[in-house]
């Protein structure tokens, strides 16, 4: 059973309903080659995703490199144009609205990037970086109001207002990520895609940023899509977690259930691969060591995409793709014919 069909009209939306509803979403990238630049294939980065993001929650999104996490996050914000499907934000299909309405929608959504070094323009001061979003959406009425807002934003992320005139290279990695967060907050959004916001940071700094994101969520009632490949971090921060494999969501469930009772064999192996910083426990643990590498999104295997690495695969798995179905009580779904018990 897929998620319930999205409602037809914007008027019907209330906060009790999902903030974001993703239906049948596909984002393919053409691969070109030769002198006439002929399309020779399609990278199926996101290949048929159904997903709800609920108001006020943190939905964790995990999976291996290249499985389509960032592309899904960007497609939801329409920073890349999806090939097919629907993304409803507060009930409105943002893939099909005009540019004026989209501009208004943009104030509700933001993104925080992985690499605080690459994502900030080195020639802009902090004030310019934060002010840019304010200018685009005409959110500051005067120079003074703009200055005050910049100062306020810096305060929100734990930086001194004196930093406004400085350039990104004058900051440490953790401070730069704080600036990236302040930039995301500038438009006063309700939804933020956090695309691996701590992966580039030192271990000793990661906890500061996680705590900051959690505090800001409480303060502004933010909804997060939190992308990461570190499942320990995702478990800590998420209410629910979606697991992706080669363009598909293969399991989605409340965080606690996912860790206690993973249903998809891929989730099971992913969890068993995370090292736990406790020597006694870590040495006793049973590990599922997967064979081989992640399948190619250019040419995914027939049927279940995980079957080339799956330790439970049967002939049936090669035939048709298993649908994402309820496996446990209510809120836990997995796409597998032979789920883990």
């Amino acid at each position: 059973m897929a998620e319930a069909p999205a409602r037809p009209s914007a008027q019907a939306w209330t906060p009790a309903q999902p903030l974001v509803e993703v239906r049948g979403l596909r984002t393919w990238f053409p691969v070109r080659s030769g002198v006439i630049n002929r399309v020779v294939g399609q990278v199926r980065a996101v290949d048929g995703v159904d997903l709800d993001i609920r108001q006020g929650e943190t939905l964790g999104l995990v999976g291996e490199s290249g499985c389509g996490k960032s592309t899904l996050g960007r497609s939801i914000l329409r920073l890349v144009q999806p090939t097919a499907g629907e993304v409803r934000f507060k009930g409105r299909d943002i893939l099909r609205i005009g540019s004026r309405s989209m501009r208004r929608m943009r104030r509700e959504m933001s993104i925080i990037f992985q690499d605080p070094f690459a994502s900030l323009d080195p020639r802009q001061t902090v004030a310019d970086i934060l002010g840019e979003a304010l200018d685009i959406h005409r959110l500051a009425r005067s120079t003074r109001a703009r200055k005050e807002r910049v100062s306020e934003l810096l305060g929100l992320v734990g930086l001194s207002g004196d930093f406004a005139g400085r350039y990104p290279h004058e900051f440490s990695g953790g401070q730069r990520q704080r600036i990236g967060i302040a930039r995301a907050l500038a438009v006063d959004p309700s939804f933020i895609v956090c695309d691996e916001p701590i992966s580039a940071l030192d271990v000793s700094i990661q906890a500061q940023i996680i705590n900051l994101l959690e505090q800001l969520q409480d303060k502004f009632h933010l909804t997060y899509l939190f992308i990461a490949h570190d499942l320990s971090v995702v478990k800590h921060i998420s209410d629910r977690i979606a697991v992706m494999y080669v363009g598909k969501v293969v399991e989605v469930s409340p965080a606690r259930d996912l860790y206690r009772q993973p249903k998809h064999p891929y989730t099971g192996s992913l969890l068993s691969a995370i090292p736990i910083p406790d020597p006694r426990l870590e040495r006793r643990r049973e590990r599922i060591i997967l064979k081989g590498d992640v399948a190619s999104p250019l040419n995914p295997p027939s049927g279940c995409r995980f079957r080339t690495r799956c330790f439970k695969a049967q002939p049936r798995c090669a035939e048709t793709e298993p649908p994402l179905e309820t496996v446990n009580l209510g809120d836990h779904k997995a796409a597998c014919y032979y789920p883990l018990s």
Partner: protein
């Protein structure tokens, strides 16, 4: 020949020239490793882990040099060897694998040729035999379809397979010491698990001593007999892995263990971060380098730097624990 330890690193100081001064990347590091042991080196980025490894291998960047100290391997002083002698040592007795295998594999040569190279150079094996050996080594390193794979180029390999190829090459001459610098940091967790499993097997089957450099405390917990914790170019704590994790004796280790989210943690508690940021290696503070971030600091800490001394089961560089205080509530097991 008899020697006390397989490798003995004795008070090495490695300096690097940078635009605005000198980085004391390694500032008085000493440790030993014995045959068959796995030693972990942890610390955040810039703490001197790689420079310690490169000092042992004598593969420092041109701006760097060992200004003091001695490295002894099987009784031979590596720091005194000629470049040719050291090169022979690197090809046969000590192997090193890096975080990004693409930078250490040559893109224009076939994998089999590269994996067999140490055998041709150091064991004077002919080309054909070296390729046959490469097939065998790749198979041992867990690469399926090895006879076909030897003919491929590095870009046709995935990240995990390249790392396996590097390990195969490193092990071709059966070295007694393998230095692995963040060998899984660039890899996905399921591939990381494969590579760690391979390193574990090699250590068990061939008794290869391993120095495993990582910033991942979970990896250390699962792999290492002993662990060294580095901060600002220094060893701040050293001990048996179980002891260090169960009862850290240095505030940096203690704080680090408390700050990381754990897969097996049950209740949702806010994390306890370490304040501040890692030190600027060109302008290190006086006294203990952890003072600005340390929740236990006392007056003396900012003025005088403690030595690395025995504190219960470990070595710790801290005035407070050396003075008998225990860092309560930090244990994980």
């Amino acid at each position: 020949m008899s020697f006390a330890h397989l490798l003995e690193v004795d008070d090495i100081h490695t300096h690097l020239a940078v635009k605005d001064g000198t980085v004391r990347a390694v500032d008085g590091v000493s440790f030993t490793i014995d045959a068959g042991e796995t030693l972990g080196i942890v610390g955040e980025s810039g703490s001197g882990k790689s420079m310690t490894a490169l000092s042992i291998m004598r593969l420092l960047p041109r701006s760097g040099s060992i200004v003091e100290g001695k490295v002894t391997f099987k009784g031979r002083v590596l720091t005194d060897l000629s470049e040719d002698e050291m090169e022979a040592m690197r090809g046969t007795e000590i192997a090193m694998i890096f975080q990004d295998p693409m930078t250490s594999l040559n893109p224009v040569y076939r994998i089999g040729w590269q994996v067999g190279e140490p055998l041709r150079i150091h064991r004077h094996v002919d080309t054909r035999k070296s390729i046959v050996a490469a097939v065998d080594l790749l198979r041992k390193a867990g690469i399926p379809d090895a006879p076909r794979r030897v003919g491929q180029f590095p870009h046709m390999f995935s990240g995990g397979m390249r790392q396996r190829a590097m390990i195969a090459m490193g092990l071709s001459t059966s070295p007694s010491l393998l230095i692995a610098d963040e060998p899984t940091t660039a890899l996905d967790v399921t591939i990381q698990a494969q590579i760690l499993d391979l390193l574990r097997t090699l250590n068990r089957d061939y008794g290869t001593a391993t120095i495993l450099i990582t910033h991942n405390l979970g990896v250390v917990a699962g792999m290492c007999d002993r662990v060294i914790v580095m901060y600002a170019g220094r060893v701040v704590e050293q001990g048996r892995t179980e002891d260090v994790f169960a009862r850290p004796e240095h505030p940096y280790t203690w704080s680090l263990l408390r700050s990381i989210p754990r897969l097996d943690a049950d209740e949702h508690e806010p994390l306890k971060p370490i304040d501040g940021s890692p030190p600027d290696m060109v302008r290190l503070p006086a006294g203990c380098k952890f003072t600005p971030r340390c929740p236990f600091a006392i007056g003396r800490c900012a003025k005088e730097e403690p030595e690395l001394l025995a504190v219960r089961n470990q070595l710790s560089r801290c005035w407070v624990t050396q003075g008998g205080v225990t860092l309560d509530g930090a244990g994980v097991g």
